[in-house]
């Protein structure tokens, strides 16, 4: 007897939920703009995302009716600002499912977060002859801070190679893990190609050898649901401005025990418990790493951005973007002389491409005249672009508020590029 025929079972009606993109677009005032006489088609989301009204209003609200310094005043506004700031920390905790809010450190962005780990954890744990392992897919922000640490300590930066599709070669990665490896620092999603790294497997391999892992989540957080406890990574970093939040604020997540064992990054106010000229006692985490007055309004607005994305539903966002990526990939492949650079099996909604005989910079200028914003160049990831045999590419990076009509506009723009260059 099949399950269907069992008495007492009734078929459940599962509502098929999907993103209401028309409604979503109304939240983003900038999407109504016209550029050079055309409706704006914003396809540079991997550089920075646009901001919904809710986030813009949170910034205005903070400066209009909440502005005060935090953690020190006894007056009404200071208490309000402090409560809002700590509520934002809680919202960010929820956003990546960290175990505790004190594991969320507010920083300027992913770049500062990686520098912080390199200069505090790195300076105390890495010595001459040790190795830091990254991949060939990294953004400069996950290369240069480690090179600086290596110069300071005599350690060595190792690079796990990729194949021609732009995917990490797992066997090579595993082979590079050795008793000298102190840290694996790896991007979740390549900003240049969109490749999604198998970070869970990488973390398992590293942890089985007792090696901690930092995950650069800057390009992952706008596209997929993140659960740092499920991932098990030791550090996770991201920038607010790529996930609908303001510029200048981001997050370093670290497991509490690791953060507690690390020396402070910068010295100053707020990061201390008591100061005398003889002895200063540092504050507890997260404040130990938050010297000086932070970007209070920015952190609050980032909390609102995190909640905005969660309310839309990260899984719905991922589904929608995956569909849009497939549509765009098919559409671009159909354009004569266009070649997609980076064809990993698992990709976020980023498409790097070239047009035969036309420099990416010229593509960018011509598309701009049609109101279409893309990025051109090496995308702050020179090694991976050069590894695949290019000096520069054009890159269209899609967000959940982009539409198939906008992809059609891109395709029409690319036909115009070919027409101009003959």
């Amino acid at each position: 007897m099949s399950v269907m025929e069992q008495p007492g079972t009734t078929s459940r009606i599962v509502p098929v939920r999907s993103l209401d993109v028309a409604a979503v677009r109304r939240d983003f005032p900038i999407l109504n703009m016209r550029v050079h006489g055309h409706p704006l088609v914003y396809l540079d989301n991997a550089a920075t995302s646009q901001k919904p009204r809710q986030v813009i209003e949170a910034l205005t609200r903070y400066y209009t009716s909440q502005n005060a310094n935090i953690h020190r005043g006894v007056h009404y506004l200071s208490e309000t600002a402090t409560a809002e700031h700590e509520e934002a920390r809680e919202r960010l905790r929820r956003f990546i499912n960290a175990a505790q809010a004190r594991e969320i450190i507010f920083v300027r962005g992913a770049t500062e977060a990686i520098n912080l780990v390199a200069q505090t954890w790195g300076r105390t744990h890495v010595k001459a002859g040790d190795e830091i392992l990254v991949t060939h897919l990294e953004h400069h922000a996950n290369i240069v801070p480690w090179q600086m640490l290596c110069e300071q300590t005599g350690a060595r930066l190792r690079v796990a190679p990729i194949n021609d599709a732009g995917e990490l070669i797992m066997e090579e990665f595993e082979r590079l893990l050795n008793p000298r490896t102190r840290l694996v620092s790896v991007t979740f999603v390549s900003n240049a190609l969109g490749t999604i790294n198998p970070v869970s497997d990488m973390i398992a391999l590293a942890h089985s050898r007792g090696i901690p892992v930092l995950v650069d989540g800057a390009q992952a957080v706008p596209h997929m649901r993140i659960d740092v406890q499920e991932l098990g990574c030791d550090f996770f970093v991201f920038s607010g401005h790529k996930m609908c939040g303001p510029t200048g604020v981001g997050v370093l997540y670290g497991k509490a025990a690791r953060l507690e064992a690390m020396p402070p990054y910068q010295g100053g106010g707020d990061m201390i418990r008591s100061v005398s000229f003889e002895k200063t006692i540092y504050n507890d985490i997260p404040f130990k790493f938050e010297a000086g007055t932070p970007d209070i309004g920015g952190a609050i607005a980032l909390g609102v951005a995190a909640e905005y994305l969660q309310r839309l539903g990260m899984d719905l966002i991922a589904d929608y973007e995956h569909d849009l990526l497939e549509y765009a990939t098919r559409a671009l492949r159909a354009v004569d002389r266009v070649r997609i650079v980076g064809n990993a099996a698992r990709k976020a909604s980023v498409i790097s491409f070239v047009v035969d005989g036309v420099h990416p910079h010229d593509i960018g200028t011509i598309l701009d005249q049609e109101g279409i914003a893309i990025r051109t160049g090496h995308h702050c990831a020179q090694p991976v672009i050069e590894r695949l045999g290019y000096d520069a590419t054009a890159r269209a990076s899609l967000a959940f508020y982009n539409t198939r009509e906008e992809i059609d506009a891109l395709v029409a723009g690319l036909r115009r590029v070919v027409e101009v260059f003959g």
């Binding site: 910079h361 010229d362 200028t365 260059f421």
Partner: protein, 150 residues
């Protein structure tokens, strides 16, 4: 579209496709490297100076249409000129692409290079148009560090 046609004039597209004086000469007396980190454009300019006069000028490199055509047309323009004349032409060219007002006699001196006038409407592309020129200045005046437009 009219701005675009102004920028990508036929002459510029032609020099982009078929750059003139391209390649390393056997015995240059001077050379310099230029790099535009924004878009990754690279150019090397080779000079053969006979006293104060540019006997030959050639270039190599990879770049966008504006930077390639600018380098190509620059080599045609500078051949046979004195160092002082090269400096004056560069100054006029710079004024042209940045939209500074050019007296008629300066424009006349630029000749075919006037096709780069459209660059003034594309501020982000000024660096592309001037990369080879900054590089030739470095070669002429003995600067040894690579030129960067940043």
């Amino acid at each position: 579209m009219s701005n675009l046609r102004e920028l990508y004039q036929e002459l510029i597209l032609d020099h982009n496709k078929n750059p003139r004086n391209f390649g390393r000469p056997p015995h240059p007396t001077h050379e310099a490297h230029g790099y535009n980190p924004l878009c990754g454009d690279r150019v090397t300019v080779y000079l053969s100076l006979d006293g104060d006069r540019v006997e030959d000028v050639r270039f190599e490199g990879k770049g966008c249409a504006i930077s390639t055509a600018s380098a190509s047309m620059m080599t045609q323009m500078l051949k046979g000129k004195t160092v002082a004349e090269c400096d004056a032409i560069f100054s006029n060219f710079h004024d042209l692409v940045t939209g500074k007002s050019c007296p008629v006699e300066s424009l006349n001196q630029l000749g075919k290079l006037a096709v780069f006038g459209g660059v003034r409407d594309f501020p982000a592309r000024v660096k592309c148009a001037t990369l080879a020129w900054h590089t030739v200045q470095a070669a002429l005046h003995g600067q040894t560090d690579p030129v960067s437009t940043e």
